[in-house]
Symmetry: C2
Subunit: 242 residues, 2 copies
């Protein structure tokens, strides 16, 4: 139920950032090398441990971020201390873009799911980015649109599907976003606990554990501590349609 609050990320400015970090990322892909240089020179870079908070729900939105490497979970914490995961963000996406939707504070907490590398800029630069950099605004809003779609899907799932289907869907989505092909199947390439999955699917870690056990018996998945490998994706898809 309640989870320990993990804390404080070690700040660390990396030597010097290379332009190639950004050139292939959608929000920046239409920009000149020179522009990217400017952007990088204004950025700070930070490494976060796994489980660290990049920003917290309700904090003033002083910076916006680009996740260079790792995974981030966007979670909300209820008055009773339960966590609900609203979204998973893979490397290469912006986060903390409260400004884009006219907010002064972050609407949710962002926690790293693995060790992660993050760039950030002060929110005061947001308007400049939007105005000066071709494609930045439109790509950002595309990301936003995608997230809205995901949230919508999650609402529909929560409203209509059984737990088994939700868990199957969640795993499939993780596999799609972050699957790594391995011997005998596809693995979610970051550590994920039963607890994490239960927060993602609005159930308990017990139920998730039972489901995984049962699937493992049937040969659909294999899982060790914090690792899940899907051996028969198609069967999972069938399950998820229920």
């Amino acid at each position: 139920m309640t989870r320990a609050m993990t804390e404080q990320p070690t700040r660390k400015t990396l030597p010097r950032l290379d332009e190639s970090l950004l050139t292939h990322l959608p929000p920046f892909s239409r920009l000149e090398k020179r522009q990217i240089r400017t952007i990088l020179d204004q950025a700070s870079s930070r490494r976060y441990e796994s489980g660290a908070a990049v920003f917290n729900e309700g904090d003033p939105a002083e910076r916006f971020y680009m996740l260079l490497d790792g995974y981030v979970r966007v979670v909300r914490i209820t008055p009773t201390g339960e966590q609900v995961t609203a979204l998973h963000i893979p490397a290469g996406q912006l986060l903390g873009i409260a400004k884009a939707i006219g907010r002064e504070t972050y609407p949710a907490t962002a926690m790293t799911a693995t060790e992660s590398i993050v760039l950030s800029w002060p929110t005061s630069l947001w308007d400049t980015f939007v105005a000066e950099y071709d494609g930045f605004a439109s790509e950002t809003y595309k990301t936003l649109g995608h997230r809205v779609g995901e949230m919508n899907t999650r609402i529909v799932e929560l409203a209509t599907q059984q737990v088994e289907q939700r868990v199957a869907n969640a795993i499939l989505r993780l596999i799609n976003q972050t699957g790594r092909k391995v011997e005998g199947g596809i693995e979610i390439d970051f550590p994920i606990t039963r607890q994490d999955l239960s927060e993602l699917t609005a159930t308990t870690l017990h139920t998730v554990s039972r489901l995984l056990s049962s699937w493992e018996k049937r040969g659909l998945v294999e899982s060790k501590r914090k690792r899940i490998k899907v051996c028969d994706p198609h069967a999972l898809v069938v399950l998820s349609q229920g």
Copy 2:
């Protein structure tokens, strides 16, 4: 469970639109009378019966809309035909703003909950509006931000609250958005069925009916067919916190 699809809105261009329709609405409030005139001249206006679809999920987003009067429910329909209400939109807000989030199609269906009056413009004008009209973009994104917040809240509610709390919350939200003060309480000022409420809270009409009956016995609400009046809002708030 499944609902009849109601259909086709009667098109009707009203005589001539008055500038005062828009001057006080946030997206247009900073504009000159002259600009508003231009905007109105490009708009078409339409009246929809209660229960009509303004646009459907998946349709190409050819127009965007401003709800002048009435209420609109934004719903998604599952493969099995169940409806899930994602959002309620009161008069004075934009809808169908797929373009704002980089989408080419509408992500959900918008159905009127009452007879409604709607203005619309071709999506091709979107960029012009954003570029030419001061405050239009920022107000739009504020609306969007607000909706994202609502969706988030709904996810958390679905994930953590009991049915009774969800129904109480839903009613309170409707009262806040659209409450009309009447003799002995506050009433939701559009017709809403048990079925509608169940789609809003991801439960069944039976359960909603039972809850309302029980609340009525305790004097918290009074309800007739399609009408709900809250007599003791505070008690409902207490319930909703559970």
